[in-house]
Subunit: 366 residues, 4 copies
């Protein structure tokens, strides 16, 4: 298994390269009876697609999804749902130096050493294009979780480079190209990105994702803890270098009297835990943060080596995102949905399908 | 599967509760022919055991391991290695309020809602005692990785509460009860912990773990990336709330021209990636950081509720670690060893057992 | 993973060698709240244990089980249930030729070539002693399936060597040492076995296992079909060389008009399918047959080779079962229980915990 | 996971329904560097395709495969290989009674009860059409096993209804539409099938599959034995009701002195074991037999019920195989290849990539 399989019960098997015939996945384990159309999937794909503003790559990738199986008369049948997104821009081109050299910060070097070969066209399997597949699969999970349990999964950008973005409202998120939960700060973000692009550089970002209305009891005690599986899912996204649950790294300097959330008859008094206690959901909002590194492909001269170990100077040209974090929000939401879906099914396998009514308090957005 | 199984090829199946007959695990998939004795395991367990200084719990847990299978004439046979650590202190006692109430910051509340029952004795399955099993399993992985590939896995405390601990030397780590890589700062750490204890409180910590001499090519491209599996493994440790690889959350404010590591004929020029590119080891030091929350069990009055939802005030007594991070270093090392071992085997399954000679530069300890 | 892990949701991780400290397993995924004591397990183990008649091995193996975890106040907690059976007869002895030679029909040859080493004491990991662990794990599955769904799992010997055993009644099975469902034939079986033993030989057997009251809908469509998983489980038992579901090999010469079971408002009109259609339980009795080969350890001179490839003549001494099939019935029942349990949980994960009322007709015992 | 995933390291994730847009799979874990084209796959698919003689279904299914990923410049890259076979005959038609009733011997009844819905077009997911996907995936495994280890996997029909087919030569197999290893008997088989068809009935068959040149040491000791995984793989093929390894059910009446294969310096003296000892390949030919039931779809009136439980009489029309066993040989070969491939990779994960030279004797074809 070369690492393209996700989940235990709600599984996603991903395939495809950036410049091959297409990308796609097989989603196995979806409960039968869920109303599902290609439009449900497409809506999420469109949130991630390139070319929606001047701050992201200007590539033309319509990312049109075709459902190949598992849906009959508009509903899931319980059998595998295969989805295919054809690559539209596979024109042969001159890959030049990329064939023989390793781009800094990319997987070129490690793929070549691992496999003794690599598909150098647009990064091949390591391309961020692969994340479209996650969004497609996540759309199914998101829909089922919402219809069955009322779970709401949403994300936003909480920091762009050095600029922290104070949370104002969920409504703001869809109204700007950054997924910022704050419209006042958008002009500042825009001019910041204009500067980055003008300087032929790229920048990192911080993304937050929140799941609300998650029933208490999802997750496992020791290894497959809900937070561990979330950390795995998030860190598996291209360019992610860090993951936090709840208070995250702020916990290091916290005291127990501050960190551990007290309970009251009205619910938890705070949410430093981020909605997970002992690996199991507490009914509070699950709150996750991730660090997205700056794009490695920048139009500056950088030092590298070729396959023979000789020094080269290379410069990445082409239409790259100056901040991959800008399009990361729908991907992070999808990954959280996939983890929750898998644990929803695991929970009812072992503990039955009981919906326990428990005190639930809103997640804290700081 | 209730989440007690770790790994794909080198697997650990963990069992046991804090106050039951014992804890242990079955390690399956170890290559045959590794010299292994109980003393190899015990040495690592002793690094984690309680009672080694006044800054950790004063419980008496000798944690003596018995190998039940899989080793014959001093060598592993390739069949499952079962290990058992008997609990020595199972005396019946008055659990008082704990039976009917939920301790803040603990898994009491989530276990009870998930399972409709819980072993309330010392936290049962959610007890940090379970981490001894990880250390035992990790000891085998560590030994094999070192003998077969020369991999060296070491960790240290990099921050205690608000005190950052500058890295001075690996030698220092074993010479103080904090696993601090710096002897000059130890008096400050000691007085800090004395204050925390005097104030009946607890504190968080930050732990760093580093694996050196890891061959290039371990890991998978999309989901089972080496960094994703590391994030999963670390976040599965009790009390961990955040994980970083390489530059981690600092990446958010970095530019691409700074973050992405250039290559030279002498190796990588820096290690912001933390030894992983595209999910695959680059031959550089793998550098991981984790946030450990403050202990939830503190001898202060805290608000909670009982099973009926009534408000209660409770105070945790007993011999608890005022900083669980102090004993976390051997556990984090063990988890990193388990991940690397699994990927070492996965790599040779798919790509054969070739040791490619590649430029390797030392990890950067900042 | 060296093949000691069984199941997806109700998992059994087995360990131990014939002459090591002990054998045992970790059962993970058992639903919480099942009343369970060591006596429940012991009752099944006692059905399999040696020394119960002159027709089986005269070894003394009390096979006393200890539950190490996962049960609290007499009920399962939902966490892993570890069980340990200490080996009582580990005395050092002279293994003589066995150390250097390969016993015909045994795993000596293949283990040695696979691992480059082997535990030669009593077959080590390949010993039939390992099957005690399956019986212990199966006892839990059997109990849960019966309490939750009313499933009844029973087996019997249907053929001993050339002697076919006509089914008379389930009651007979427990009243003779062969698990024969027919008391009239027992004297013939006894004198047959006496002859086999007198001739220093061994003999094969056929075992049937039946599960009744299995709800319709367990199993999966393509790969993890219920019948495929049953075939896997049965063929994994030492000495099993063939598995049939329903009509089995008789299907080869059947016509479709005979084989395919018609449906009526009162239920199916026949059960050539053996209770499985398209990989999914039909509500009929699940009927499985297995072929158990004759014991390879016989006190006759047999040709073999030593590690250097030189010819040797060897004779297996010791207390061996002249027909391993005699003790195979409880093992086959346990394996069927494990498969059904796993699929019960898988079913409710994907399709919810609905018990559909469907026409069920009794299994046909021909 | 709804049972569409096969294997641990060389995995196949299958999807698709008989009358949906298409069927296909994702093969993950293939080693890099294998030369592979669509023609390699197509050659195996053409052996299975319908319409090749009057004895099989006359449907037109060209089964043209498209490779969507994982192959670059004619070689596998080590990343997932997705394959798609478009369904060409999806015309809307009148499904009539099939929508509301359950065809005897089919999965209609069990799917409907399991999922509460079913794709009734041509059997949907339960259609034998799905086996094309196995053949496609198996073609890759077959090729790698042959190139890397010289493994040869071949099958043949050994019995058609009551007619046993004596093995004459491998060459004969490709020269008749039955995969019979004997040309003399072909006229008898043809007239037999003509009779079956004339009588509007169907018939069962027995298929044998043999793998030669398998290195000693593949397989696992306890659960994932090579023979257990083979039994699972074979029983997962539509219509298979029994599986044998080596002597199979003949073992029941064998004595140990006959069954257990002696070893000589020239190799094993016989092969009752069928090439597997203790779950691990012995270097002998692996010999597997399977029972294929007669087609359930026959143009005769049969009793059944509708969804409301009312009795109906139905007759299956359309172009069905009168003996599904006729096209089963390539499928069985593919499944054996998939199992061996997975164990080849598992073996080198745990034991390294050493090719041990061991005495190998030809398989016995009786």
């Amino acid at each position: 298994m070369s690492g393209s399989h996700f989940g235990l019960l709600f599984t996603v098997t991903s395939f495809g390269e950036s410049h091959g015939p297409g990308i796609g996945c097989v989603v196995d384990g979806c409960p039968p009876g869920l109303a599902l159309t290609e439009a449900d999937i497409q809506a999420e794909l469109d949130r991630r697609k390139p070319g929606t503003s001047r701050h992201v790559t200007q590539r033309k990738e319509p990312d049109t999804v075709e459902i190949l199986s598992g849906v009959f008369e508009g509903k899931t049948t319980g059998t595998p749902i295969a989805m295919l997104i054809r690559n539209t821009d596979q024109r042969s081109q001159d890959y030049g130096k990329i064939v023989e050299t390793f781009r800094p910060g990319h997987a070129d070097y490690t793929y070549w050493h691992k496999y003794g070969t690599r598909d150098y066209r647009g990064g091949g399997r390591s391309s961020a294009r692969e994340t479209a597949v996650r969004v497609a699969a996540g759309a199914i999970a998101k829909k089922w979780l919402h219809e069955r349990y009322g779970v709401v999964i949403r994300g936003y950008m909480s920091q762009l480079g050095a600029i922290k973005i104070p949370f104002q409202s969920w409504d703001a998120v869809a109204q700007n190209p950054f997924f910022a939960p704050n419209l006042d700060i958008v002009p500042e973000l825009e001019s910041y990105m204009d500067t980055i692009r003008a300087e032929r550089d790229s920048i990192g970002a911080r993304i937050d994702v929140v799941a609300e209305q998650v029933p208490v009891g999802w997750g496992e005690p020791v290894f497959d803890r809900l937070d561990a599986d979330i950390a795995y899912a998030m860190m598996s996204i291209n360019a992610v270098k860090g993951v936090e649950i709840g208070a995250g790294f702020a916990s290091v300097a916290q005291r127990g009297s501050e960190h551990s959330d007290e309970l009251t008859p009205q619910g938890f008094a705070s949410n430093h835990a981020g909605g997970v206690l002992g690996g199991i959901s507490s009914g509070q909002a699950i709150h996750v943060s991730l660090a997205v590194k700056p794009t490695s492909s920048i139009p500056q001269e950088r030092r590298s080596i070729d396959k023979a170990g000789n020094p080269v100077v290379m410069q990445t040209t082409g239409r790259h995102d100056p901040c991959v974090g800008i399009r990361a929000t729908p991907i992070a939401e999808a990954m959280l949905a996939l983890v929750l879906m898998d644990h929803a099914l695991r929970h009812r396998a072992q503990c039955g399908d009981v919906r326990v009514e428990t005190p639930v308090i809103p997640g804290h957005i700081d």
